[in-house]
């Protein structure tokens, strides 16, 4: 039985539009135009126990809204949602004790006080026995290497340290289901890496079911085998990461090595689209079907190629293709 089951979820919200300028403000004083937007449209998916699934999509695609519905913060406008067999928006305590949500841009920690104080509050809210609390805290503090900052006021912490503490606050009651909304946003590479490692390890060791949204492909490609792609409120694709590449990347990459100065960019033109050409190395983009013949043509040509490598396109670019706003290829 799946841990998370979503059937035909739709979620609308209202907003206002203000006409520009002073006259617009004056009119807005009395009347505001009400508009309805669909944040999530007829989405269905189900997630099994222990899965770590990535949610991918541009800003405003509906990722956060979906997570909020799954957390019981928002009611669905239509559709059926179950998490651990519970209907989230009923907000039953038994359910709430079994999951947690982390929002990268928001914090639940008390700003002026050390993180430990906020953990103690969660201890009372989740009714965690003293022993268990101490044990979990010690374990997480060690895994995340934050033992020495637990007694420093949160506002003095770096963003990375704060995020680690946010994670501890969310995990202190050992939830079975975890929603991570952009947990690495704005972090430096080192902090990103360490949080990513922690999430992967936690998922493996505890068997926690995790949904992760992130802007960083690195997070998704390192952690998630399965990826759900949302765009404009709709699920565009749902499946293993590899499938995604195969399905959407109509081209593969050919990487060629040759002695420096022997091959000019123009020489490669006939074989495919030249992505990069530097001294001794070039990358070509070739259609999936034509990649083998292109490779053999290059090898049988007069070009002094030393090595040739066929690979899939970078996941970043695949995603750009999916969202239909392909930016210029990397140089």
């Amino acid at each position: 039985m799946p841990v998370i089951e979503v059937k035909h979820l739709t979620r609308n919200y209202e907003y206002y539009r203000k006409p520009p300028g002073l006259s617009g403000s004056l009119r807005g004083l009395f009347r505001r135009e009400r508009l309805v937007a669909e944040a999530v449209k007829d989405c269905s998916f189900s997630i099994g126990a222990g899965e770590l699934v990535g949610f991918l999509g541009p800003n405003g695609a509906g990722k956060t809204t979906t997570l909020k519905v799954l957390s019981g913060i928002l009611h669905p406008t239509a559709g059926d949602v179950r998490v651990l067999g519970y209907v989230p928006f009923r907000r039953q305590a038994e359910f709430q004790k079994q999951f947690a949500i982390v929002m990268g841009q928001k914090n639940q920690l008390w700003w002026d006080l050390p993180a430990r104080e906020s953990f103690l509050l969660n201890k009372e809210i989740y009714e965690i026995p003293d022993r268990e609390f101490e044990r979990s805290l010690a374990e997480f503090a060690e895994l995340l290497d934050i033992g020495d900052i637990l007694d420093v006021p949160v506002r003095k912490l770096s963003l990375g340290q704060r995020m680690k503490c946010e994670l501890v606050a969310a995990l202190i009651h050992r939830p079975k289901v975890l929603f991570l909304d952009e947990p690495t946003i704005g972090l430096d590479v080192v902090a990103q890496q360490s949080i990513r490692d922690f999430i992967g390890r936690y998922n493996r060791e505890q068997g926690t079911t995790i949904i992760l949204t992130s802007h960083y492909m690195e997070d998704i490609s390192r952690l998630c085998r399965r990826v759900i792609i949302i765009d404009q409120g709709m699920i565009v694709s749902d499946g293993p990461l590899d499938d995604l590449v195969r399905r959407y990347a109509r081209e593969k990459l050919l990487t060629l090595s040759f002695p420096a100065g022997t091959v000019r960019r123009e020489d490669l033109g006939p074989f495919g689209e030249v992505v990069t050409a530097t001294d001794g190395k070039a990358v070509l983009k070739v259609s999936r079907d034509g990649v083998k013949s292109a490779a053999s043509k290059i090898l049988s040509s007069a070009l002094p190629v030393e090595d040739i490598l066929i690979s899939e396109m970078e996941i970043d670019e695949v995603v750009r293709i999916i969202f239909g706003r392909k930016s210029p290829p990397p140089l």
């Binding site: 919200y13 006080l113 906020s118």
Partner: protein, 267 residues
């Protein structure tokens, strides 16, 4: 879970929240100290105004000096207690905007309880001591000091007053949810509360009616003082108690409604 267990859990949460609030206030010493001093200045100046007025007159709206002061002190008693206990509502809009409220909704804790008590300001209760001392002193100086029965009457109506004020806090929180784009509605109450500093007989009947029945500030802060002065009959007492209960029930109903609206209207 049994009622006792729930009560114990909520007491522990309340205690931890209060500790957090105290820690937070102490870490902002200048702000907290200045706010406290500002409130003291306000209190002192109003008292000075009342005392100064009575150097030119013997009565104000039919009340003597100590009677008027009793109204003013009772107003302060309720104001300080509600400020201290339900302070969380003042941060409510901020909590919603910053997404803190979303965290609250995802946790096994009653969101109303949490939002009300989020910033319980135990430090503010420092004020309670001088207010209570002054009330005792002023009661002793009244032409007819209240007996045990009047004191009980006073306490009963204070309770009704606190319940009413709690209801007002809950209603404003509900309004804040509905009108997310507007400022925290609790400030409306805060401003209107100023009416309670003087005996209600000062105002015109229309103003009195509005602040007794619609926004029951007079009911909350002036009725207890009247009880201590033996000016509140049984019928009015009964009405005040029923009104307080009804008002509180209404506020809970509105809160439930607004909670539903929040989870179906925002994104």
């Amino acid at each position: 879970m049994g009622t006792m267990a729930i009560a114990r859990k909520y007491f522990r949460i309340w205690k931890q929240l209060s500790l957090l609030a105290i820690g937070s206030f102490l870490s902002n010493r200048i702000d907290s100290g200045a706010y406290l001093a500002g409130k003291l200045v306000r209190f002192g100046f109003f008292l000075l105004l009342i005392v100064s007025l009575f150097s030119f007159t013997d009565t104000l709206a039919g009340y003597t000096k100590y009677e008027v002061v009793l109204f003013f002190l009772t107003f302060n008693l309720i104001d300080v207690m509600s400020q201290a206990l339900f302070r969380g509502i003042y941060a409510f809009r901020f909590d919603i905007q910053r997404g803190n409220f979303d965290f609250v909704l995802s946790k096994p804790v009653d969101p109303l309880f949490f939002c009300l008590c989020r910033m319980t300001d135990i430090l503010d209760t420092i004020f309670l001591a001088p207010i209570v001392v002054l009330i005792v002193y002023v009661m002793g100086r009244l032409p007819v000091p209240p007996g045990p029965l009047q004191l009980l009457h006073y306490a009963l109506l204070l309770l009704a007053g606190m319940t009413t004020v709690l209801g007002i806090h809950i209603i404003t929180a509900s309004i804040t949810i509905w009108k997310l784009e507007s400022e925290n509605a609790i400030w409306l109450y805060r401003e209107a509360m100023t009416i309670g500093r003087f005996p209600p007989e000062v105002y015109s009947p229309a103003v009195r009616a509005v602040f007794t029945f619609v926004l029951p500030i007079i009911l909350a802060v002036a009725f207890p003082a009247k009880a201590a002065l033996r000016l509140l009959d049984g019928k009015t007492t009964l009405f005040a108690l029923c009104y307080a209960a009804g008002f509180f029930a209404l506020s809970l109903f509105l809160w439930q409604k607004s909670l539903k609206a929040y989870s179906s209207a925002s994104s």
